[in-house]
Symmetry: C2
Subunit: 345 residues, 2 copies
């Protein structure tokens, strides 16, 4: 005999009372509750999750799906570890636990998610790195499991999401560069189908149009979201006959590789080429000249994501009355020296 039965026997009361005492139900004698609580600590009893879940239909666990692609791994993206801190600060208020579900790169993400959801180990899901077409969202909508995404998508119908303000970054970058006299402004965008690339490029094209500058596809470098991708973008740019005078990067680590390739070619950022990076990143802090980039709090983003998710879960919605919602997460420009020069006409 083990579990709650053993504890009940040890206390010589019924398992029902033990359960009620442990779960903080009101209709338990104060003294009984104390005895139960004390015995639970003494014997190290914690309710078996499978038993609870089966009975209650909930697990009190929120899942964060991560695609651990080779690319992500090698570049050491600290984004997820930062997010968890903010997520947990909210979830812990409600005694919810966070688990990270790393999808193997060989496995189809939708099938992996399907399996995880069907097994019933989570009450809600957080999905990141949304693709433009992302069947995971269709799956979650169909299954009716509460979820929130970090990033928009064309899939999944109506749902709650939080996304970075890529449009804002594109606009303020272009405006800033044009104010300094630039007309040929390049972009290094992700080569995969992640949705943020599309949003950013839309913003970029609109911003150019606003300034009456024609869109030139040869100035859009589609590269990996990595340091290597930045190197590649610089490499391709240097091969152009009519080089751009400025470049905007859409991934934080690109700047490192870009600087390296530029340095090899004797092109100095901030003097020969204006560079605006994406998210401010500790690893890019050492760059010389300092990088103009955008600041945001990853932890606060985690808070926002968690609250948005809970708002869609019936059991917690009363705490977060905003309900289902879509949030554009702002980024703040941090001026550096990398785009500090005026372009002479």
């Amino acid at each position: 005999m083990k579990g709650i039965r053993q504890l009940a026997k040890h206390l010589d009361i019924s398992i029902g009372t033990v359960s009620r005492a442990l779960n903080g139900k009101a209709d338990v004698n104060a003294e009984t509750r104390q005895r139960v609580l004390a015995a639970a600590v003494e014997l190290g009893y914690v309710a078996n999750q499978s038993g609870r879940s089966l009975r209650q239909g909930t697990t009190n666990v929120i899942g964060l799906m991560m695609e651990s692609s080779k690319e992500t791994n090698e570049n050491g993206d600290n984004f997820f570890l930062g997010l968890t801190s903010g997520l947990q600060s909210v979830l812990s208020r409600h005694k919810l636990d966070l688990i990270m579900l790393p999808c193997p790169s060989e496995e189809d993400p939708t099938e992996y998610l399907q399996r995880m959801v069907a097994r019933g180990i989570v009450d809600g899901m957080i999905i990141s790195a949304t693709q433009r077409i992302d069947h995971r969202l269709d799956l979650l909508s169909r299954t009716k499991i509460p979820f929130v995404t970090l990033g928009r998508s064309q899939s999944g119908g109506e749902y709650s999401w939080v996304d970075l303000d890529f449009d804002g970054v594109a606009n303020s970058s272009v405006d800033r560069l044009i104010a300094k006299g630039h007309r040929r402004i390049a972009v290094a965008a992700p080569s995969n189908d992640v949705n943020l690339g599309y949003i950013f490029l839309d913003g970029y094209r609109n911003a150019l149009k606003r300034h009456g500058i024609a869109y030139d596809p040869s100035l859009v470098f589609r590269v990996k979201s990595s340091e290597q991708g930045g190197y590649q973008a610089a490499h391709e740019m240097l091969l152009l006959d009519d080089r751009p005078t400025a470049i905007i990067l859409i991934y934080e680590l690109m700047a490192i590789g870009l600087y390296r390739r530029l340095t090899e070619a004797g092109v100095i950022p901030g003097r020969d080429l204006a560079v605006i990076g994406f998210r401010e990143e500790p690893r890019a802090k050492f760059l010389q000249p300092t990088l103009t980039c955008f600041r945001m709090s990853v932890r606060d983003l985690g808070v926002e994501l968690a609250e948005t998710l809970l708002a869609t879960m019936p059991a917690y919605a009363s705490f977060y009355p905003k309900g289902a919602c879509n949030t554009i997460w702002p980024l703040e420009l941090v001026p550096g020296e990398s785009d500090g020069f005026e372009r002479k006409p």
Copy 2:
């Protein structure tokens, strides 16, 4: 009605047969099995995990505990993301899933682990960043849940572990520096109670003794395992009257901060000070002069960890006959320019 009951009704057979067919039991008519499998796919049926776990007493899930300290987050340690790839490649052979359990920094790690284990959501645990005294290991030993650690500890009694060869790194670093004429060799070691610091320092002291050099405590800088820690170590070193001529770092990102502080002071690595870094790291690749460091495959380490864990689990031990074991994981020296000069006597 839902779950297996619904599926059985749809097929007009008993739930027992459905279960046996789905679980690949031998005593099922081939045609029946086909029908069941087809229907499961069609209706998107996957067995509820809580139901299975409760009945079987296993969850087919392996947990990887991570302490998401602020320090780790901000430094973007890609180590864990790299590990998961290797871990999963082994676990997936046995249809085991990996989940990452991020312990909030506010919470006591042992209590967090206790809760996760008692809930019964994992069949086995992987513990990293072992402390010299680490109550998590005592807990796991007591609970008799299969586990493996990345890193040794004085706690927990007999158990399986894999650990990097810190002693080897210390020895070959010291030997190498001494061969180049250095006598005053400093070390930047972690300031927290993580066990690897102790092991490394033991190796360092023994290596010095082997060469007849007295141990000088003022040459051991205890700093954070981060870029900032490297900066701090360099800073403290520069304040010394009798400066060392060489320094060994025990964390990969320290090199970045160290270089920065040295550069600020006009001290050139590889000319004025010999530097040996720890693990080879993409983010430190850009350093000039190139860093002498040690190479290892994080993915293969994950493979080793997973196989070591499975060897201790009765259900899988037959596949990994090595049984419980302790492995010292080798690192290979990668010569760079940072310690390339001969020290003049």
